[in-house]
Every structure is written in structure tokens, then in C-alpha cells.
Amino acid sequence: MRLTCPSCGSRGLEEFTYRGDASVRRPAADASEQAWVDYVYLRDNPCGRHQELWYHGAGCRSWLVVTRDTRTHEIFDVRNARDVALTERQTDAGQGEIA
């Protein structure tokens, strides 16, 4: 599998580490217990399109939000996680889906 890092270009899997679902959001400190349990433990785990976090640890050390098909491993989109997070704060779009 290869991911196209927005900064570094197309790179092989060996340069990246995986973190998991990018659609969950860290709740506020005072959110409900359930919200926290959901965030830390529950996953959609879809068969198909999945937004997920990868770390380009052997490259530019950017965290990336990758959209990938878990059935075919086809990659649809790779973005800098930081840009995604900042945009989300500005638009306050909140939960998950990245256009």
C-alpha cells in the first residue's frame, strides 16, 4: 500500500504507523462518561470507506487523515491532520465527515 503524503509525496507503508478511526473526536473534559467511553473504545469499523489517522513517522512526522476503502485498500484522499483539525475549529463543523 502507498500513501501520498501531502508534504512528501507517494511513500510506502513501511514509513507510516497507523492509529485508527479519524471520525471520533475527543470530548470536552466535562462531557458525559458515556461520551468518553465511546470516544476511547467504540468504533464504527466500517467495511468500505474509512477515515483514519496515520503518522508519517519515518518521513515528515505529520499526522494524516486518510480516506481509504477497507475492502480494497484503495486510497481516496490524504490530508494533513493539522489542517483538518484547524479547519474544523474554524468552521466548527465538528463531527467527523470530511467533505
Partner: protein, 419 residues
């Protein structure tokens, strides 16, 4: 339907008649609901559940529905290791229960699954690992299992051809479970299927669950590619597909599906007797009764439903193999494949009822559920029949995540790909 009883005698008898009298190992059943129990998933766990439900819990009208052919999931693609060498009290009694069931399995189900207790040896390479294995070995013995600590010399005596010369991480010793070993994977599925079939269980292949029918908060049956099938209780045993079927009930699980690859070499004259795991790299190996070296390593590490992996892990596993066992260098890899692991958030399984009445869950087996097959079947059957957990599976509750009572053997936290 009566099937043949298997024995040397029946084998000879049939041989004389041109082997024309053998009956199907299990009937090709079609849905004929309503059933008291439907088990979704014709893997090892589903089939074992049906068998024990019928055999030990007097279950009647039981069906197993399988989307493809039985045994085609993880039970048919794992590296066949069975052991009960766990550390934590939530796990060890369960796996030891499973080990004991393996030990009497073949006579119980009248099928030779080649339960082969030639030992499982986990190597360690530094003092911290040794301490962790001593802790584990002691836990095992406290729970009535068997464990032996070997020092480097004893390991060398047992397997002289490991790398003792120029190892980057020298072997300091190993924890051996003599009763551990391997079991012929396919035979487990077929043996349970045949035994369950003889007790009247309907094994319905090519029948995929596509939805769950819930009435007044209670599950009353499943939608399948062969139509609706009504049932009193429904048990999900879908391993890597657990999240997909749970989603049909509107549930999200503490599970991610990951791919684990496995490897087999060309057939060789036997020279590796027990299962060996490398403590300083991702590699473990055994040699099958056919002569193939069966080996594996770590999961690929990303969510996947593809049943196949990629080169970096293949290379990593082979590097581990060379680091541990240099003499296999010119041995050729024959085939590699992948399976869908239901990686749970703490690396331990779940056997519990769900928030939906009548719907029960058996999942989260990660890369270690083959050895659990008999106990998983027994405990799931117990839960389905009695509505309370089996005494050796009380820790496998869904609410343990909310409570914090996680069973995290590796101490990796809520990140499934690290377990």
C-alpha cells in the same frame, strides 16, 4: 440423518466397498425455522457453540447460518496454535478450560482433529522479558496449567539450530508449555459441524445474515440471503465481521477489523517439533504434519476487510524468521494469505448478551481465538442456554470497558493494532 461413525474399522470396511458408502459429513440443510437458537457464523466458534448447545445444554432446533462455506473464515486460515499460557486472571481459567476440552475433543466428536501437544515455547531475550514470563508461568501453574522455564542451555538442547551464534538479541531462555501445540484447523470446523449435524443441528451454508428483525426491543429473527429466519435467541459468532453484523442491530463495538497474514513453506521433512515464538521480532513457527512450515508474525496494522496483506509485514516476518532460525533461509515460502481479525480494544474477547434482548455476542478474539474454539463454544452455549455467563468467562463482559475492568495482556491500551 445418520452418518458413518469413523474408526479404523469403518475405514477398512469402506475401502473394501470402493468407498462408496461414505455419507456427507454434514447435511446440506436449508432454513426451516423457527429455531430456538440461531448461531450466525459457521466458523469454529459458531459450530462449536451449536454442538455444545445440543450436546450439553439439551438445545433443540438449532441452526448455524454461514455466509459462505463453513470453516472458510479464520478457523480455516489460522496458524493452528493452541495453548493456555495467559497471564491475567480474566483469561487463564478460560483458556485452560479450552485446553482441557481439546484434550478430549477427538473422542468426544469422533473426528481426528490432530490435537498435537508437542509444546509451545516462547523465547525471551532479556531480563525484563524473563521476569514477565516467570510471572506468567507462575500464573499458569496457579490456575492449574503447566509451564516450564528453560534457560538458554535448555533451549539450545531442545532446538539446537536456533541462532545462538550471532544473534542481535541473544536467546536467554524460554517459557515452555508442554501441553500446548497445534490442532488441524480445518478438521476442527468439519469435526464440530459433523458432530453438531448428528445431533440435529441445521448447518446452512451460503446463507448470509443481512439484517436483524427486532420487535418490541427483542430480536425475533434474522434476515438472510435465504429469507427471514425466526429464532428465539440469536448468537453472533462472526469474528472479523462482528462489527458489520452488530451494526445490523444498531450497535457499535469496541472492535476493529484488522488483517493478519500467515505463511506456509513447501513441504519438508520434519525438523521443527514444537511451536516456537521469537521474543525479539515478529515471528512464530511450527511444522505441520504435512511438512509445511506454518509461520506468522504481527498484524498489518490497519483496518481491513480484505483478507490479504502487504509486503512490509511479509518482509518483517521473514526477517524475524532468519534472525531466529537461520537454517530455514533457502526454504521457500509457498503461499501467504490473510484473515480478518476482530481486534478488541483490550485484546481480549467478549462473550455477553447485547443491549438487544435475545441477541448475544461472541467476538473480539483477535489473533488468538482458534485455541479458544472449544471453550468459546461451550461458554457461548452456556450463556445462550442459561442467560448467565459460564464461570470461566465471567470477565468477558461488554461493560468492562466502561468500568475499566479491561483485560489487557499486552498493556497496550485502547489501540487494537498494538495488541
Amino acid at each position: 440423518m445418520q452418518t458413518n461413525r469413523y474408526s479404523l474399522f469403518s475405514l477398512l470396511w469402506e475401502a473394501c466397498r470402493g468407498n462408496t458408502g461414505w455419507k456427507p459429513a454434514w447435511r446440506k440443510a436449508e432454513p426451516s425455522g423457527p429455531y430456538d437458537f440461531i448461531i450466525v457464523g459457521g466458523g469454529g466458534h459458531g459450530l462449536a457453540t451449536a454442538y455444545y448447545l445440543a450436546k450439553r445444554y439439551g438445545g433443540k432446533r438449532i441452526a448455524v447460518v454461514e455466509k459462505g462455506w463453513i470453516g472458510g473464515g479464520n478457523v480455516g486460515r489460522n496458524t493452528t496454535i493452541v495453548r493456555s499460557n495467559y497471564l491475567l486472571p480474566g483469561n487463564e481459567p478460560f483458556y485452560e478450560c479450552s485446553m482441557k476440552l481439546w484434550e478430549g475433543l477427538e473422542q468426544d466428536i469422533n473426528y481426528n482433529a490432530m490435537v498435537s501437544q508437542r509444546g509451545v515455547l516462547n523465547l525471551f531475550h532479556n531480563d525484563a522479558q524473563r521476569a514477565a514470563y516467570i510471572r506468567r508461568g507462575n500464573s499458569m501453574i496457579l490456575h492449574g496449567a503447566d509451564a516450564v522455564l528453560l534457560d538458554a542451555e535448555a533451549v539450545r538442547e531442545k532446538i539446537p539450530f536456533l541462532n545462538f551464534n550471532d544473534a542481535r538479541f541473544p536467546i536467554k531462555g524460554g517459557l515452555l508449555q508442554p501441553r500446548g501445540g497445534t490442532v488441524r484447523h480445518d478438521a476442527v470446523a468439519w469435526g464440530y459441524a459433523r458432530a453438531a449435524d448428528r445431533l440435529g443441528v441445521d448447518i446452512i451454508e451460503n446463507c448470509e445474515m443481512t439484517g436483524l428483525r427486532i420487535e418490541q426491543g427483542r430480536a425475533v429473527g434474522i434476515e438472510t440471503t435465504k429469507g427471514f429466519i425466526a429464532a428465539g435467541k440469536i448468537g453472533l459468532a462472526c469474528a472479523g465481521n462482528s462489527s458489520r453484523v452488530a451494526a445490523m442491530a444498531g450497535l457499535r463495538l469496541p472492535i476493529e477489523s484488522h488483517v493478519l497474514q500467515a505463511f506456509v513453506s513447501e513441504g519438508l521433512k520434519p525438523f521443527i517439533d514444537c511451536v516456537v515464538t521469537f521474543g525479539a521480532g515478529h515471528f512464530y513457527i511450527s511444522q505441520s504434519d504435512k511438512g509445511g512450515l506454518v509461520f506468522g508474525g504481527d498484524i498489518d496494522g490497519y483496518n481491513s476487510y480484505a483478507q490479504r496483506g502487504n509486503l512490509p509485514v511479509i518482509e518483517d516476518v521473514c526477517e524475524g524468521g532468519m534472525a531466529l532460525m537461520p537454517r530455514i533461509g533457502r526454504v521457500r515460502l509457498l503461499r501467504h494469505w490473510g484473515g480478518l481479525m476482530d481486534m478488541s480494544m483490550d485484546g481480549s474477547p467478549i462473550i455477553d448478551h447485547t443491549p438487544v434482548d435475545g441477541l448475544y455476542l461472541n467476538a473480539g478474539w483477535c489473533y488468538g481465538g482458534f485455541k479458544a474454539t472449544p471453550a468459546s463454544g461451550l461458554c457461548f452455549a452456556h450463556l445462550l442456554a442459561r442467560d448467565e455467563p459460564h464461570p470461566v468467562a465471567t470477565a468477558y463482559r461488554l461493560d468492562r470497558f466502561a468500568r475499566g475492568a479491561v483485560i489487557d495482556e499486552k498493556g497496550m491500551g485502547a489501540q487494537p493494532n498494538l495488541h
